[in-house]
Amino acid sequence: MAVKVLYFSWIKEKVGAGEELLSPPDSVETVSDFVDWLRTQSPAHDSAFENLKQIRAAVDQVHVPLESRIGLAKEIAFFPPVTGG
């Protein structure tokens, strides 16, 4: 099933794209699984996600821990800790 994947801040720069439409295999159940699978897609993806402590995720625009299940998510976003305000 295709899911929209968004990247922000330096993760976007490292990946080299802000948005991708990806179809992970059925074995990908959690956000963490998704990250592991993403890292196999290209050296750029691998490099962007090498420090998991700096990665935050949102599923369908809600913050989630990396252990969360993806379920029927339409949109998954990855970004570093936020620095607004």
């Binding site: 801040s9 330096w10 625009q61 809600v62 913050h63 976003a77 970004f79 800790p81 607004g84 305000g85």
Partner: protein, 155 residues
């Protein structure tokens, strides 16, 4: 009310109309965050900041700010609340964020205004990139912001 916009706003004029909409609120607390032209954060360049870019996550930003404001209404008896946040290219002295809260008593106005700012700092999907003479750098999150936000965790 929530506004996320790419064009500058006038905090004085916004506060004036917020007061006009809430003539019966005894206490109004507001906070304005401005772009500084220096950066005291440890891990940042000491060069002067010439401009600041604020990237955000369109759609989620608005939803997250709405969630924070709704949460503040469940915690304090508020009459009204307003959050305006800029994104895009900013210059030193520009106002990045305005939070206004209105309540009968000042304690509720102060607490909710600070709560909204603390949660916004750790939950609203914005990322700052500074432009200095030396180049551009993404600003790192401050551990202190997480500590401040954690103060509001419910037991």
């Amino acid at each position: 009310m929530i506004r996320v916009q790419g064009t500058p706003f006038d905090p004085g004029a916004e506060i004036k109309s917020f007061l006009g909409r809430n003539p019966n609120s005894g206490g109004i607390a507001t906070f304005i965050g401005q772009v500084r032209d220096f950066q005291p954060v440890q891990n940042s360049s000491s060069s002067e900041v010439t401009s600041l870019e604020l990237e955000h996550y369109p759609g989620m930003t608005e939803k997250e700010l709405e969630r924070i404001v709704e949460d503040s209404f469940t915690r304090w008896p508020l009459d009204d609340a307003l959050v305006i946040h800029l994104y895009g290219q900013l210059k030193p002295g520009d106002s990045i964020v305005l939070v206004c809260t209105a309540a009968t008593h000042r304690g509720d106005a102060f607490a909710s205004c600070e709560f909204i700012m603390d949660w916004l700092k750790t939950k609203a999907p914005f990322w700052k990139r500074e432009q200095t003479q030396a180049g551009t750098t993404w600003v790192d999150a401050r551990a202190n912001d997480t500590e401040r936000a954690d103060r509001w965790a419910k037991d």
